[in-house]
């Protein structure tokens, strides 16, 4: 099915004696929104962590744009065209909204310490400022640019975090529970936002809200206890008996 933006195969992640992910594979093609779902503790965020240098990879192969690549360190991701949001949002509390977003564009930041200290990179900084304004427009948060991040209501922080992730012009955006903790109205907003983002970037999405997953995803992978139990279109996954069992089992256990 054409070229692959991201391809992970045989990924295994172990923490001590515990196997968090076992022989998992995932493909993302250009322009796709791919969902990653599963009950709590299934390994969804661990997969993101392995891909973004936060968790150690025990074994597995990574292919980016059809070329095999070593597992990247966190600070290399932006350069590889991969961007990520965190479940914990993680805005910088004492920075303004605009500054928070600008941090995401560090790969476009030029110049060394000395130049910066003497203000010789003014044009570059202006460029970042303008780029950040555009990113804020995309998440409908332009009016908040000069507010301090710790003054924002929670739903807005999630949108600002997405704007920050967009600053590096990612080919692939990893969204970790963008709708988590939101009320139904904000979930609808987020749903619409993801639809808009699709135009610019491919998305790999971890999400608990099934409405969001079913509405925005082209394909879905289902994890349970660190293993892939199903993959396919939303319709296929919804009908899959293993998925139903995993989710019913999880619900019954709760």
């Amino acid at each position: 099915m054409g070229s692959r933006l991201l391809s992970i195969s045989d990924l295994t992640v172990k923490f001590g004696g515990l196997t968090a992910l076992s022989n998992v594979h995932i493909d993302v093609h250009p322009g796709e929104v791919v969902g990653l779902i599963g009950p709590n503790g299934a390994g969804k965020t661990t997969l993101f962590n392995a891909l973004t240098g936060f968790a150690p990879v025990s074994s597995g192969k990574l292919t980016l744009n059809d070329k095999e690549h070593k597992w990247p360190k966190s600070h290399e991701l932006a350069g590889l065209g991969i961007s990520r949001t965190l479940q914990g949002v993680g805005l910088f509390p004492d920075l303004t909204v605009l500054e928070n977003v600008m941090v995401g564009g560090q790969k476009f930041a030029k110049g060394g310490v000395i130049r910066a200290a003497f203000g010789l990179d003014a044009s570059n900084e202006k460029y970042l400022r303008e780029k950040a304004s555009v990113a804020l427009e995309k998440v409908y948060a332009s009016s908040l640019a000069d507010k301090r991040a710790d003054s924002l209501p929670y739903p807005v922080t999630k949108r600002v975090a997405i704007a920050r992730a967009l600053m590096s012009d990612p080919q692939l955006l990893l969204l970790d529970e963008p709708a988590g903790g939101l009320g139904s109205q904000d979930i609808d907003w987020m749903n619409g936002l993801i639809h808009n983002l699709k135009v610019d970037t491919s998305i790999l999405l971890v999400e608990h809200h099934m409405d969001v997953i079913m509405s925005v995803c082209d394909r879905i992978y289902v994890l349970n206890f660190g293993e892939l139990i199903a993959e396919g279109t939303p319709a296929q996954v919804r009908e899959n008996p293993a998925v139903i069992a995993a989710y019913l089992g999880a619900e019954a256990a709760q």
Binding site: F92, E99, Q106, A109, A117, G119
Partner: protein, 298 residues
């Protein structure tokens, strides 16, 4: 007049405390280490300034050398000592306290090193400015050209820091990586390097403090120890992770000291620092400008 005079006395010492507090806060923000070695680093850079002064007979030539030396020493301490410590000790209470103990050890090491090279005699590192107070309508105010240089010097450092932190990308990276190292890495920031640059800025501020204050007293291996205490108290008053707080804390402490000296007496000077600290912490436990939230909870 007496109140104004007392304020002027406090202003110049407060400026020095503020510089030292800035140095401690910069390191605390980026590394969560109280850098006791800062007093040693500043003394070493001041000795280097002193040596340049002896050769060039020009104070103004010697100060930039002291600043560069201060920055280089600090960068070296972080890049070599702190990083190595972090790599070797990972978890547990020891790993949290190890870097602080290491800075204490480093302070002792630098002290004995400077003692071996320059001896323990009180040396004169003199500035060209007079230490005699300005005269205004037959009243000699307790504020000399030397004090003026101190205040201006401190203002320049604060101005440069404010501009770098507020308006440059480097400043943005420095502020970002001190609060959310993981996210900063995701954004492509080399957090380790940025941190070392933060240490260098701190070392430069400490070097300026040493080069400015030493001409008013003398130079010896431990002549800046008391300044470390005052700087730390000022930093805590300011909230420990706020740069503006550090400056305000320095001024509050300097002026507070001056008034206590003037109206109570010299016998309480040292305990006064802690007295002021306790009052401030009692009224505002997180310091006057400390952040509401810890760096990991945001």
């Amino acid at each position: 007049m007496l109140i104004l005079d007392t304020f002027l006395i406090g202003l110049s010492s407060g400026a020095i405390y503020a510089l030292m507090a800035l140095a401690l806060v910069l390191v605390w923000r980026s590394t969560r280490v109280v850098n006791f070695a800062q007093a040693g680093q500043a003394i070493l850079s001041t000795y280097i300034g002193y040596e340049v002064m002896n050769r060039t007979h020009n104070y103004w030539v010697s100060v930039p050398f002291a600043i560069v030396a201060g920055a280089a020493i600090a960068a070296f301490v972080d890049a070599v000592l702190m990083r190595a410590l972090e790599k070797r000790s990972h978890k547990g209470s020891v790993s949290e306290i190890a870097p602080v103990i290491a800075t204490l050890g480093l302070l002792g090491l630098i002290r004995s090193l400077t003692g071996m090279i320059w001896g323990n005699a009180y040396l004169q590192y003199t500035s060209p400015a007079s230490g005699k107070g300005y005269e205004i309508s037959h009243h000699t105010i307790p504020f000399s050209p030397q004090n003026l240089i101190i205040v201006i010097g401190a203002l320049v450092v604060m101005g440069v820091f404010a501009a770098v932190f507020k308006f440059t990308n480097l400043g943005l990276a420095l502020r970002a990586s001190s609060f959310q190292p993981e996210i900063s890495r995701l954004a492509g920031i080399r957090v380790d390097r940025i941190r070392t640059i933060g240490w260098a800025f701190a070392g430069a501020a400490g070097a300026v403090a040493g080069a400015l204050v030493t001409p008013t007293t003398y130079l010896s291996p431990n002549s800046l120890d008391l300044l470390l205490v005052s700087g730390f108290v000022a930093a805590v008053i300011g909230g420990l992770d706020s740069l503006i707080g550090a400056v305000l804390g320095g001024l509050i402490l300097g002026v507070g000291f001056a008034f206590i000296l003037q109206y109570i007496g010299t016998s309480v000077t040292f305990s006064a620092a802690f007295f002021i600290l306790i009052i401030v912490l009692f009224l505002r436990p997180r310091g006057i400008l400390g952040s509401k939230i810890g760096r990991r909870d945001a």
